[in-house]
Structures are given as structure tokens and as C-alpha cells.
Symmetry: C2
Subunit: 81 residues, 2 copies
């Protein structure tokens, strides 16, 4: 059984209104010295597939088809046992 | 300048409807052998603070006050240069 971790983040240069909202809220709460905030998604999958290379390929397919909007987002897949 | 990475995930045992929706959508698309999917948030912060220990403490404060709902979520903070 493989465990895959996927990080989906907005590409550099794409405006991140959610991150800006978090930054503003933190500043309102009194936190200072925050230069930028970017928010992304983090998805953990438990797969029946035991072969790590096959699991990596399968999860990359899932990212391309559903998990990430590759026009504006990039993804990173890590597979462990 | 420190860079902090925060992972916010639902606590074990807390139902994750978003993860279930992703799992169902992936199965509809023809992906099989998916045992479970959990979705969380991933936040990257650029901080003016140079001291890593101080940055860690500050970001943990941000998690407690805003970034995570500690009733149902846990968070993990990693600070790098």
C-alpha cells in the first residue's frame, strides 16, 4: 500500500486573493512582519497500489485530470510506503 | 528572512466530506484502488523575522488564532531560511 501526498499551489505570478485575505486578517490580529502569504491545497491519498513508481504515475494522472487546474496551478507529488 | 510552511489537516476521526467528494470524483473518472483521500490546507508565509525559533513561535501563534480551527484540525509548522 502506498501513501501519496499532493501539494497544489498557484503558479508564481498568479494572484492569490485567499492568501492576501489571510495576510490582512493576520495583520488585523496584530501580527507584523508578514511579507507574503500564499495558500494551496494539500491532499493525502491512500492507494492499494504497492509499486511506488506506478502509484506516482497514477497520482500524476489524477492531478492532471482533477486535482490541479494546470492553467494556473502547479502540483508536486510525493509517494511513500 | 524566514519562510514558514504550515499544513492544516483535519484530526483523525473527523469526517472529511471534501476528501470523500474527491475520492468519488476520481473513481467516476476511472481511477481505482483509492482507499482514502483527506484534504487539508497548505499555507506558505514569508516573514521579515530572521530568527528561526522566533518565527516558529510567531507562526504557531497565527495557527492557534486564525489558521487552524484547533477543535477539529491539527497543524504542523516548518520554518526554513
Amino acid at each position: 500500500m502506498a501513501k501519496a501526498t499532493v501539494h497544489v499551489t498557484l503558479k508564481t505570478g498568479v494572484l492569490d486573493p485567499q492568501g492576501k485575505a489571510i495576510q490582512h486578517a493576520l495583520e488585523t490580529l496584530g501580527f507584523s512582519g508578514i511579507e507574503s502569504v500564499r495558500q494551496g491545497k494539500f491532499i493525502e491519498l491512500d492507494l492499494a497500489e504497492a509499486d511506488k513508481a506506478k502509484a506516482q504515475t497514477a497520482v500524476e494522472g489524477m492531478c492532471e485530470k482533477l486535482l490541479a487546474n494546470t492553467v494556473i496551478e502547479t502540483y508536486r507529488v510525493e509517494v511513500s510506503d
